[in-house]
Symmetry: C2
Subunit: 337 residues, 2 copies
DNA sequence: TAGCAAATTGACAGCGCTGTCATTCCTGCC
DNA sequence: GGCAGGAATGACAGCGCTGTCAATTTGCTA
């Protein structure tokens, strides 16, 4: 039979309420008592019943991770964030609930309301690109459901985690500049995504800092997919003056660029340098391996969830954490021809 | 304030217990009463409190989806299954919990036990490759937690969903044979995975049926990844007598094969036909688009969850459903040179 | 039309915890 | 040594629902 809090209380010779206090890390328990209760819990392998805690304590121990599976960056990216969030939730004995929401759907808010009234999550983790969708944020605030974001566009006093993508993008373009490239193209991601904007801004910044004139033909729209990378590259390779390097806003598109290079008989990196962003597993499997920016997605998911949980525990302790990036210089970039 | 069952009862002039009966689709309620209660629920937008239901009814309304994120087929595949499972759970007002478990880790069973004692899932959905891991199944039975599987290797009286992958593999190889190919290679997936075995068996079957001699050099080991596809292809292209067609056990490896073809100056499909398996989004983005077998992963996840939920509701009503496959003949395969 | 079984409905306790508030146990200090 | 005041602990009700079983109504049969 299940071990209950009452059983632990009896074993530790205290009242159930005291065990509850220890369980919830509440104040006003002497160290000796706390230790005794802890030992009893341990010895009996006590597991609190989440539903009972939830019912009595008016909280759910559930964190919902919201994402947009329509307009999403890539399933690998989301899967990694999910893993990170899950790890953090696990560590704090929270459970994670995942929730696809399609921003473009009319019933977006209705589905959010349903999530909240059906499951009462204690908090929510938002992932790109829905970190900055105003109606969503408004609704969450109305329901008083705290949230933390992964790579939000607006950096306010909100919780979550970011990376300085603009500086990272600038750094990778500077790497190309250092290699002697001057005609450097950029394949942009989906418009309105923060990722697209920051990476483009970093590209502009690096080019401007190098005193290079902007050639609008070298900035091509993509959509974060392999296919869009192929198409963007075809446009670039059809120019009278081809670029000698392409910085794609993510690895999938960069892979598409490398693919298209093959079609045009361009050898990477001899004739063309290519770099991406994200450091997906794919980038290491390519040949040559892709120069890219490591974005620690899993870690970022974990941090976002931790900030949320910390803030749930004691309001005001959550922050917006910035994680460092690191360039992964690999075989796909080389001296300009 | 929250609408409670009691409020609905008052509005419908019945006892709380009767509302509960309607909520749980129990027998012995007159149609008139049932209707009246339903109307009241609707009018008041009543949402039962899952924790209260769970606590009183000794069930959790939670379905856990277990997967191996170490040795997994691909995150896209898992993400699609997850979406399907989630859809089914939502429809039945269950919540879904995801759970990575590493089969190769020593604490596999401990983590499973923790999942069960912490969250008490009413049922579990298993995904490849952990659908047939004996210690896992044993433990689930010991805990009396019902499970349904996606593509289990053993077809017993268990619940879940399958596709006749062997016949699908045979069909796609026959497609190559129809195009006049005789030297057809196969890139195998991770050993022990059902998917690898069935697809290989289908390949053998088709070749044998066509009366073609087996050339062991044409069967190369891969690992379901893009990179392993590239390497396998390099082996194949280094043979004195190259294959004219390659059937890779999944799309990622097929993409790798196409990539390697470029390295060797082989034009797809002119010099080499390539086909894959899964019909991932990637397969349509490639140029030429990949001939492959459509595996309706999302649908399969949904079906597996539905069978599980059906069986939870009334024991014995869940089945092992077989879904049809369909060949997606696209640009990557053509007449033998 | 009485009489009985089956169908329908309801009363009530209790699932395992936590919030509230009362009680007891310590301190330090005059 | 006695007492105020805060720290530690406990008693008890109740969170919102369902299981059990009792009460009532209904539908038949004789």
């Amino acid at each position: 039979m299940r071990v209950r809090l009452e059983d632990v209380a009896r074993a530790a010779s205290v009242s159930p309420k005291t065990v509850s206090r220890v369980l919830n890390d509440e104040a006003n328990v002497t160290d000796a008592t706390r230790e005794r209760v802890r030992a009893a819990m341990e010895a009996m392998d006590y597991r609190p019943h989440p539903s009972a805690r939830s019912l009595a304590g008016n909280r759910s121990f559930v964190v919902a991770m919201l994402y947009d599976n329509n307009d999403n960056p890539s399933s690998t990216y989301l899967a990694e964030i999910q893993d990170g969030v899950l790890e953090a939730c696990d560590a704090h004995r929270y459970s994670m609930m995942v929730r696809p929401l399609r921003m473009r759907d009319g019933d977006f808010i209705r589905r959010l309301d349903a999530l909240i009234s059906d499951h009462h999550p204690d908090g929510v983790v938002l992932t790109p690109p829905i970190t900055d969708y105003a109606p969503l944020l408004k609704r969450l605030r109305e329901h008083k459901v705290p949230y933390a974001s992964v790579s939000p566009q607006r950096r306010g006093k909100n919780l979550g985690v970011t990376m300085d993508e603009q500086r990272a993008a600038r750094a990778i373009v500077e790497h190309l500049l250092d290699l002697g490239h001057r005609r450097i193209a950029h394949v942009v991601g989906i418009a309105n995504h923060g990722a697209s904007r920051w990476r483009l801004a970093g590209y502009h910044e690096a080019m401007a800092a190098a005193g290079l004139p902007e050639d609008p033909a070298l900035v091509v729209q993509g959509a974060f997919t392999f296919g869009s990378g192929v198409e963007a590259a075809r446009q670039l390779f059809s120019l009278r003056k081809r670029p000698t390097a392409v910085f794609a806003a993510n690895d999938d598109m960069a892979t598409g660029v490398m693919w298209a290079a093959g079609e045009y008989g361009l050898k990477v990196p001899h004739d063309l340098s290519v770099c991406g962003f994200d450091d997906t597993p794919l980038s290491r499997q390519l040949w040559p391996a892709l120069t890219t920016v490591q974005q620690p997605s899993r870690e970022m998911g974990k941090i976002a969830a931790e900030q949320l949980l910390s803030d749930l525990r004691s309001h005001g302790t959550g922050h917006l954490v910035q994680v460092p990036f690191s360039l992964q210089i690999r075989g796909s970039t080389a001296k300009a021809p």
